[in-house]
Amino acid sequence: MEVQKGAEFGELRRSHRSFAFPLTIAFTAWYLLYVLLSNYAGGFMGTKLFGNINVALVFGVLQFVTTFAIAWLYSRHAAKKLDPKAEAIKSRMEAGA
């Protein structure tokens, strides 16, 4: 597999990993932080912000917001940076095969 050692594939691998790995660590950490706060910082989480809406509810809904946002960010990144490279390599390999 010459392709795997080539610069173009290296770049594809790097642009996938350098995006997906740190983001995975980030959302896992953010989820854990939320779980830990819910467990051990009840007073803070129970702080009322407006009406009956408290910090805990806002943080919970924020988990939804960040999940949607990360999915969107990744898909944009994949469409812009990953798909063109992957398709170029694939079509060249299939033409050569």
């Binding site: 408290n54 990360i70 999915a71 990744y74 694939k90 390999m93």
Partner: protein, 548 residues
């Protein structure tokens, strides 16, 4: 009477179940309509199922949107629909907290698993795990863990189905409950043997549409009642629950003791890391033609599942605001009937036509939910048996496609019968904890090997085996000796006590152990990893070159 039911006062039970069962004819009609429609779809799909790719992967011709719907239908079990709404209605915020792990988990699938899996596998999870390893031992391990995860999940669904459907139909006799379990089992065997992946996918799509439709309707009606003011809704729920502000804060369910807090961390980790290792979810990525379509399907699934859990907040707090805690626990102690009861109430109460119709709709949705999920689970386990164990281990890759699909159909019948028997036996046991176990096993035994296989050049066969078997045994053993099985009134066997592991969820120990063993098995192995095969896997997984 099942155990959950008998814990409430006898008069309350009668009141609640007669309130529900008065509407039995309408509920039965809707159940019947759903069964007829899905059987029609199954026969239609069966006619188009010709080769192995049709049976296992629905011909790989579904669009990203269709698959996203089907994934949602496959993933949102009765445990999420009824269980989370029920948990919110009883424990307030902690029920909502529980739901979030199920959603965040999809990012692991999106960023790390869905696309490379779609590109490098054919029909099963084992295809990817065994890609660059020695085939027979790794396929055996992958098959074993697929079947264990799916059977535990299936058992929880089947036993739950018996209790739930019996309750909605007002069936109280043992024979009646066993009959319900058998009916669910037979339908699932029919869907899978005749319709294969194509039939199962359509059943899941129909279910997802019904589930979302039903939930949107009830959510809208509840919001309407509270003038679309979430704060008012929450306030009414807090007051009606008798807990006050604590109902809207974390702690009522998971915050009781230091152990229960640790248990929730363990559960949360298992949920987030388990989803991307559930075989019945993973095989769904093979039903679309490309990795791009797999990505699109996860995005749709995230949108649909996220919207659903957001509506569950309204559903759960709405139930708490409309019903008293006693009314919620009367027919099911865990609150599993909170959503149907809230539907009855918001439609105008027990005597009204509106209430009857809404109750019937939500009951039918619950029934559809159970059927779609058990069909997906059965398909995943019989596929893995036929493709990993029968074709590649027993027949050493010499079986024809026809023989393989025949083996898959027989495995479906066998697994179906076993799960009917187990579900009937377990009908009075508290098996809800088994779903969380399935997530923990998936995260401990499957996810480490999937990630190492795809991203770690040095990973070896020994590493894969240590990780799969180590994760599998440690998680199953820890659960066996946990309060899920014995020693607590809520245990599966409350009258005996052999538990020594304090947590209900083993994830916090078994998941790191699965990752650790994969690493240790690799660095200690004498064999050299197959660099050529890894290069091939890497190129295929990222570009789709040579993908099936």
């Amino acid at each position: 009477m099942s155990q959950h039911v008998s814990l409430a006062g006898p008069s309350e039970v009668l009141a609640a179940s007669s309130e529900v069962s008065e509407h039995q004819p309408l509920i039965l009609v809707l159940f019947g309509l759903f069964v007829l429609a899905t059987l029609f779809i199954t026969v239609w799909a069966g006619r188009q199922t010709k080769d192995a790719a049709d049976f296992y992967a629905g011909g790989r011709q579904f669009t990203g949107f269709q698959n996203g719907l089907a994934i949602s239908g496959d993933y949102m079990s009765a445990a999420s629909f009824l269980g989370i709404a029920g948990a919110i209605s009883l424990f307030g915020y902690d029920g909502f907290l529980y739901s979030i792990g199920f959603l965040v988990a999809w990012l692991v699938a999106l960023l790390l698993v869905a696309e490379p899996l779609r590109n490098s596998g054919r029909f099963t999870m084992g295809d990817v795990l065994a890609y660059r390893m020695r085939q027979r031992p790794v396929r055996t391990a992958a098959g074993a863990s697929t079947i264990v995860v799916s059977i535990f999940y299936l058992l929880a669904q089947m036993a739950g189905a018996g209790v739930l459907v019996a309750l909605l139909l007002g069936i109280t006799t043992d024979a009646g409950k066993i009959g319900v379990v058998a009916l669910v089992g037979v339908l699932m065997i029919v869907y899978v043997t005749i319709g294969g992946m194509k039939g199962t996918t359509w059943v899941q799509m129909v279910k997802a549409v019904l589930l979302i439709g039903g939930t949107v309707l009830i959510t809208f009606l509840i919001l309407l009642k509270f003038g679309f003011n979430i704060s008012d809704l929450l306030g009414a729920a807090a007051e009606n629950s008798g807990q006050g502000a604590a109902f809207l804060e974390p702690g009522l369910k998971y915050g009781a003791t230091a152990t229960s807090k640790l248990d929730f961390i363990s559960l949360g980790i298992a949920l987030v890391l388990g989803t991307a290792g559930l075989p019945h979810i993973l095989i769904r990525f093979y039903t679309v033609p490309t990795a791009k379509a797999a990505r699109k399907s996860v995005n749709w699934a995230i949108g649909i599942i996220g919207a659903f859990y957001l509506m569950t907040i309204v559903l759960g707090f709405g139930a708490a605001a409309l019903l008293s805690p006693d009314e919620i626990t009367a027919s099911n102690k865990a609150g599993n009937t909170a959503a149907p009861l809230a539907a009855l109430e918001i439609g105008g109460g027990g005597e009204s036509a509106g209430g009857a119709i809404l109750l019937a709709v939500i009951s039918a949705v619950a029934f559809a939910t159970i059927l779609a999920v058990v069909a997906g689970l059965t398909l995943a386990s019989s596929s893995s048996f036929a493709h990993d164990i029968y074709a590649n281990v027993i027949r050493r890759g010499q079986a024809t496609e026809k023989e393989e699909v025949r083996a898959a159909r027989w495995a479906t019948v066998f697994i179906g019968i076993v799960s009917i028997a187990l579900g009937a036996l377990a009908r009075d046991l508290n098996v809800a904890g088994l779903v969380a176990l399935a997530f923990a096993v998936a995260a401990s035994a499957n996810l480490p090997t999937i990630l190492y296989s795809l991203f770690w050049k040095r990973f070896t066969t020994q590493g894969a085996l240590w990780s799969i078997y180590g994760g599998l045994t440690s998680s199953v053993l820890l659960v066996l000796f946990s309060p899920v099985v014995s020693g607590k009134p809520t245990s599966m066997f409350p009258d005996v006590d052999f538990h020594w592991f304090p947590l209900a969820n083993p994830g916090i120990i078994s998941i790191p152990l699965g990752f650790l063993l994969g690493w240790l098995g690799t660095v200690l192995s004498k064999e050299e990893p197959d660099q050529g095969k890894y290069a091939e896997l890497e190129v295929r997984s990222l570009t789709g070159t040579g993908a099936h």
